[in-house]
Symmetry: none
DNA sequence: CATGAATGAGGATTCATTCAT
DNA sequence: TATGAATGAATCCTCATTCAT
């Protein structure tokens, strides 16, 4: 048993190191030796813990995915209304990206290489489906309870929100960030809740005012 | 003069083909032979038109970048107010992604491989800077004219918008799109203009109402 | 520790084999596979010991150069007068060429390819400078002690002697030798000591006789 | 006829240019394009005048060889005694190297690549045989007439002299010359005629004196 | 368990040569 | 005759993976 624990722990340490290396050198650019050296072990030892290069990434991706799922679940559990749950989710997403920054960068590199339909269980498409479904349902609930704009198409909006989130990740990977994470998060929340344009919000508010009259009438 | 060949045009044809191949096989996965075969030429001929694999991508990236710049400029030129220009830009961005879909996919793959500060002239960071500056100024103008929410921090919002846009691109690369591009675009525009939450828009509208009284008073 | 291999020794064995291959096929004509096969190892293994083709030659050249230097030093150490040292040096040079025959042949091939000023530390020019300086000084000493003809210009003679030596090497490379090494060496020594022409030696001897008289008088 | 003259002349011009290029870039390093460009013609045109890269060198080598032969013959024709002929030959050799410097350099490069027995008609071994035979006979004649030291083995000495000559060439190829050609030539002549060592010449002269007595007695 | 020496499949790139114009 | 576009054979080198110790 203790042996098995040791092995797992060492695999975790290696995997974690590997991500750092992948991040710096790119998945393709990183050689097995680089990882081994960074982990302070021999090249051959790597293969005692992982079948091959891909396997290391899969291992880490699983951790990443699991952390996302449990974190997202927890975030939503702490909120009452659908809208709050949505905002909590966004907050969590920002935190998650910060905590798993290197991972995110690596996945852009790795999954970006047109490997699309390769394996259902091991792809971002997978995580997307899960999250988009959650958000879509959240939106529907929010629309039912009147908290969320009924004019939005739940599926499209969900996909869009996830896309936006990806974009924030991607942007950090592609270019040095110019603004601080905090002001970015603030802008994101403000934008998501009330949009950019003053006129549009007004018009909608007015329209809704009319609706109330009409309904009320 | 020997066999007359329009070198410029042939280079364009090869580059275009290469992008398709890159998209399908990934930049790393695509072998020079693959590109040559796809272009219906010999392996060596490739090197008559491009110094190496990288050069092909650079060539295409330049075209992509140029198209983006001129397109964005044109889009904004056709609009009167800052807010309209912003919306035009968003519209154009969606069109651009559609027109240059393969390119976008390839760049995610290529630039994702931690090659960050390599060369100023050849990186997405470059395009980002340009666009973010434009948007930032647009927001400031919109805020000055009262069209855009003054609570938004121009720089952060600009970076965020570009990030969002990237996200939409990335999402298409990473997973098969679930919604039609049209409904996605509609959702995006609605979201950008008035946000998701009903309450927030209301609250803001009300606040502004108060301001009017105060001002008026 | 894994398979214990004396890396130093193996590198030496590979390098030595490589020289043989270079000699037979020419530096350019020899493919890495040829070397690997001759050494009884895999192509990739070569690169465990040497960064590239060039590096193999450099490695061997260093050995050759070191052997020359220590050998020349030892040869001269065993002689008393400058003239003896010079003759010892010539003897050693002949021995050296015999011992390092393949090397010499390879260097003609390698350094002959107009790569002149490439790298100070790695060129025959280097070895030449060292040797020519030694010989030049030897001649000066010999002239001072009256053993060597004072009419000779030390620098030019030194360069010439080294050139002659090179010529002997080169000749073996370019064409099958017609005479036995021994008779060649004998001829060289005779020629170096007293020249070819009878008349000249006589004339000089006579002149010197006159000088003696003049001095004596 | 004029056509044929044109062709020949152009071939000569191309060949001459090629030698310059070979000299600068090495035979292997020089690409056909380099030669074509240097000659101011198209790559394909090269093949109108020469079957292939090798052929260019052969063509030039033939010129070089012919010039050597006729020059050597003329040099010897102008001298009366064997010893004078030998000295004339040496003088001519020095002139020849100067006139055909680039050629010499190229041949070191080209023939140095272990291509030994390839083709009798096209190799330095060929030229060597011719020259060595001439010199050997010259020495025998000189020995018969008493002008040349009878202790020298004609064949070995001939081979040696040619080797020496090669050495002077080689040295110029391998390293920047330190001494002026003139002082080198002077040293060479002095060395060849009377050697380096004073004592040896004396001893020999004395010995010969004894011989005279003995013979005379 | 740990290791690193050995390996060869695989890919980018070069360049002499051909040949249609 | 002159040309340069096209070509693929040939070669260097990399690196994931194996395996003897």
């Amino acid at each position: 048993m203790s042996r098995s624990v040791d092995k797992k722990e060492k695999a975790a340490r290696i995997g974690s190191t590997a991500i750092t290396v992948f991040r710096k050198l790119g998945y393709h650019g990183a050689r097995m030796v680089d990882i081994a050296e960074a982990a302070g072990i021999g090249k051959g030892t790597l293969y005692e813990y992982f079948r091959n290069k891909d396997e290391i990434l899969r291992f880490e991706f699983e951790r990443y995915f699991a952390a996302f799922q449990s974190g997202a679940t927890a975030a939503m559990a702490g909120a009452d209304t659908p809208a709050d749950r949505l905002l909590s989710l966004v907050h969590f997403a920002f935190d998650h990206v910060t905590d798993w920054e290197d991972h995110c960068g690596v996945y852009v590199d790795y999954f970006g290489s047109g490997r699309r339909g390769e394996e259902a269980a091991f792809s971002l498409a997978n995580i997307y489906t899960v999250v988009e479904d959650i958000i879509s349902r959240l939106i529907e609930e929010g629309q039912a309870s009147g908290e969320i704009d009924r004019g939005l198409e739940p599926d499209a909006t969900a996909e869009l929100l996830v896309s936006f989130f990806d974009g924030v990740v991607l942007h950090g990977v592609f270019s040095e960030r110019r603004c601080k994470a905090e002001s970015l998060r603030a802008a994101a929340l403000r934008l998501l809740t009330s949009g950019v344009l003053v006129g549009a919000a007004d018009r909608r508010a007015e329209k809704r005012g009319d609706e109330r009259f009409e309904r009320g009438g």
